[in-house]
């Protein structure tokens, strides 16, 4: 019998390790379709267990996940791990940046049949394409606009924020990009590139007598609204659905004539993806009405970019009522902006906040 020396033990252990690894990789090789790795926020649609089970049964593709906790982290992960991801979920504003850095590959839309019903306005978002080629399939969208207590007059313009009738009854979202966007809409400008920043500042400053508080989390919004601290607020479309559905708050979401300040998330395939075919099959599944209806009604989801999926929801579904597809025509989407402009936006919002506090 061989002695149990250190060297022999090491040999034995490494042999066991190699055997274990090769056995665990064997069944994967047997699948012709293989597996894909998805990079996303945790708990954001792509990692629902019931959906992954159905997807694997249908296509034979297994889905592995990796998560990011901020959008800059997502870009860093893509930059530093080439070949690790097959699919990434990224905001339009970040997509432009990723495309500029050659991190994404063009999408072959013929492999995504469901994309034919994706709303044209979203697909035409310049952040998702370059030189006429699409680099991401629009997935879900939402907007920041006005929320008002039910039973009050429904406003038709952001000018209501400065209406003396709402003295001390208004809450604002403490976010520089959103507020500069609203200021731009109030002064009739492009939210991503307002030329007259002084007019934006003046529009935001004109709200001062009405502003009661600046909220920064959905929970804070819900508590203050429930305590009747304000009646009118800038709010997220998805947040309003959750407040009404989960917290039973009497809130009505309103998109005035200037339109909402919108965001849209896309599904992109990294340039170095080992399995782009599998990734596109999953993209097709993610915008499929079958998946979306179950996601939106069971768990709760933002608005699907696929108008077929959105209209497959029950007629009285809150998500569908709040996110009317006609809003897409008036909504301005937040786009990627250069650093100096971002800094200017932040400075404006700090200045306005200081003015509110005087």
């Amino acid at each position: 019998m061989t002695e149990l020396t250190r060297r022999n033990t090491m040999k034995l252990m490494s042999a066991a390790l190699i055997a274990g690894v090769s056995i665990s990789t064997l069944p994967r090789k047997a699948f012709s379709a293989g597996s894909i790795t998805v990079l996303n926020w945790q708990g954001y649609g792509t990692d629902e267990a019931w959906s992954l089970k159905a997807f694997t049964e249908k296509t034979g593709i297994t889905v592995v996940h990796d998560y990011y906790s901020s959008e800059s982290e997502m870009l860093t992960k893509m930059r530093t791990n080439p070949g690790a991801y097959d699919l990434v979920i990224l905001n339009a504003a970040r997509c432009a940046q990723a495309v500029a850095e050659d991190l994404l590959q063009p999408i072959d839309f013929s492999k995504v049949p469901n994309a034919s019903t994706v709303d044209e306005t979203l697909r035409a978002n310049p952040n998702f394409s370059k030189d006429g080629k699409g680099y991401a399939v629009p997935w879900v969208w939402g907007m920041t606009s006005l929320a008002i207590r039910e039973g009050m007059t429904v406003p038709d313009s952001y000018a209501v924020l400065a209406d003396p009738a709402y003295k001390g009854r208004v809450a604002m979202d403490d976010d520089a990009i959103i507020n500069v966007g609203v200021g731009a809409l109030m002064s009739g400008q492009d939210i991503n590139d307002p030329k007259d920043l002084a007019a934006v500042t003046a529009a935001l400053k004109s709200i001062k007598p009405n502003v009661k508080l600046l909220w920064s989390t959905e929970d804070q919004w819900n508590k203050s609204f429930a305590a009747k601290e304000f009646d009118l607020s800038l709010f997220w479309s998805g947040g309003s659905v959750r407040s009404k559905r989960v917290s039973k708050l009497p809130v009505q979401f309103v998109v005035p004539k200037e339109g909402g300040v919108g965001w849209v998330d896309g599904l992109g395939v990294p340039a170095s993806a080992p399995n782009p075919e599998g990734a596109l099959a999953f993209v097709n599944w993610m915008i499929d009405p079958i998946f979306y209806v179950e996601w939106a009604t069971k768990i709760g989801a933002p608005a699907s970019s696929n108008s077929a999926a959105l209209s497959a929801l029950p007629a009285d579904d809150l998500t569908r009522l709040v996110h009317k597809t006609e809003y897409l025509k008036t909504t301005s989407f937040v786009s990627g902006i250069p650093d100096d402009r971002r800094e200017a936006f932040n400075n404006i919002w700090q200045e306005v906040k200081a003015f509110y506090a005087e």
């Binding site: 305590a227 009747k228 601290e229 650093d339 003015f355 005087e358």
Partner: protein, 304 residues
């Protein structure tokens, strides 16, 4: 016998441990201090130094943007004059919070030292510290329940006077100061308590037997003797308060804009770490200048 031993000791000569030339004192001092200073360098000084270097950069060095070294971040108070107003607000909030903490904390410590003994005193000390151990966020949010319109405070008033209006003052600077005083009071109680416990009872007995009234004892004996506690408490409170951001943000609503919230915004929202760092180093410089101005008073206080 004794003689023998002496001889043998001298015979051992240079090889004996006692007569080996001792190391110079600075070596042992350094050796003993090395772990402490090493740790301080690693955990405090290096991160601060990094932030100090960041404050001279044109952008956060974590993207693709080229980094240039510049002094423009330190010009923020000139380029964005509203920051001066915010700075003054922060200093005022710090001043009022420290003042209220000093009055309440000193009186609480006097009560604790002069009128309680043994078990009761320990129990009361624990009771004072207990809320301090709960999460700060929880304490601040509980104040929103008390101070808001139709909150606990209002309900209490309406139980006595149902017709009275609202006395809720959430989303004002007063609410911010209340939250901050609540949060930092234990520092003052503890430092004053330690200073007061050291005062000999005989001094107070002597004073009262010589006919001193309670206010004479309080202002002429207790306060000067406890001055070191009051001053260290004030320093411990003033500095974090002017940088605080959580209490102003939650209790201040519209008026809750302080240097703390501005700096926090630069780090979390604007992703402009250099500006955030330069603002906090400017704030540090102002605080040091304030303490330098009052250093004479402070030194007299600690000697007394």
């Amino acid at each position: 016998m004794q003689n023998d031993r002496l001889i043998s000791a001298s015979e051992r000569g240079p090889s004996g441990p006692r007569s080996r030339r001792p190391l110079p004192p600075w070596v042992s001092t350094t050796a003993l201090l090395l772990p402490t200073y090493g740790w301080l360098t690693l955990a405090v000084f290096l991160p601060l130094l990094t932030m100090f270097v960041f404050s001279f950069m044109s952008a956060t060095p974590m993207g693709k943007a080229p980094i240039i070294f510049t002094l423009k971040q330190y010009r923020a108070f000139i380029d964005q004059p509203y920051l001066v107003g915010i700075g003054i607000t922060s200093l005022l909030i710090g001043f009022w919070t420290t003042l209220f903490c000093a009055v309440l904390g000193f009186l609480a410590a006097v009560a604790l030292v002069r009128s309680t003994f043994g078990k009761t005193r320990e129990m009361l000390l624990i009771l004072i510290l207990l809320p301090f151990w709960t999460n700060g966020l929880v304490r601040v949010f509980s104040w929103t329940m008390v101070l808001r319109e139709n909150g606990f405070l209002d309900s209490l008033l309406h139980m006595i006077a149902p017709e009275a209006g609202s006395i809720g003052f959430l989303y004002t600077r007063y609410a911010v100061v209340v939250g901050l005083v609540h949060g930092y009071l234990p520092y003052m109680i503890l430092t004053c308590y330690i200073a007061l416990v050291a005062i000999d009872d005989a001094i107070i007995e002597a004073a009262s037997s010589l006919g001193a009234r309670w206010w004479t004892i309080l202002f002429k004996i207790l306060m000067p003797l406890a001055a070191p506690g009051l001053i260290s408490g004030a320093v411990l409170i003033f500095i974090p308060v002017i940088g605080s951001f959580m209490e102003p943000r939650i209790l201040g609503g519209r008026v809750g804009v302080t240097m703390g919230t501005v700096i926090e915004d630069q780090f979390t929202q604007a992703f402009n770490w250099p500006l955030g760092a330069s603002l906090s180093f400017t704030l540090l410089a102002v605080v040091l200048a304030i303490f330098a101005t009052f250093s004479g008073v402070l030194r007299r206080g600690t000697v007394a």
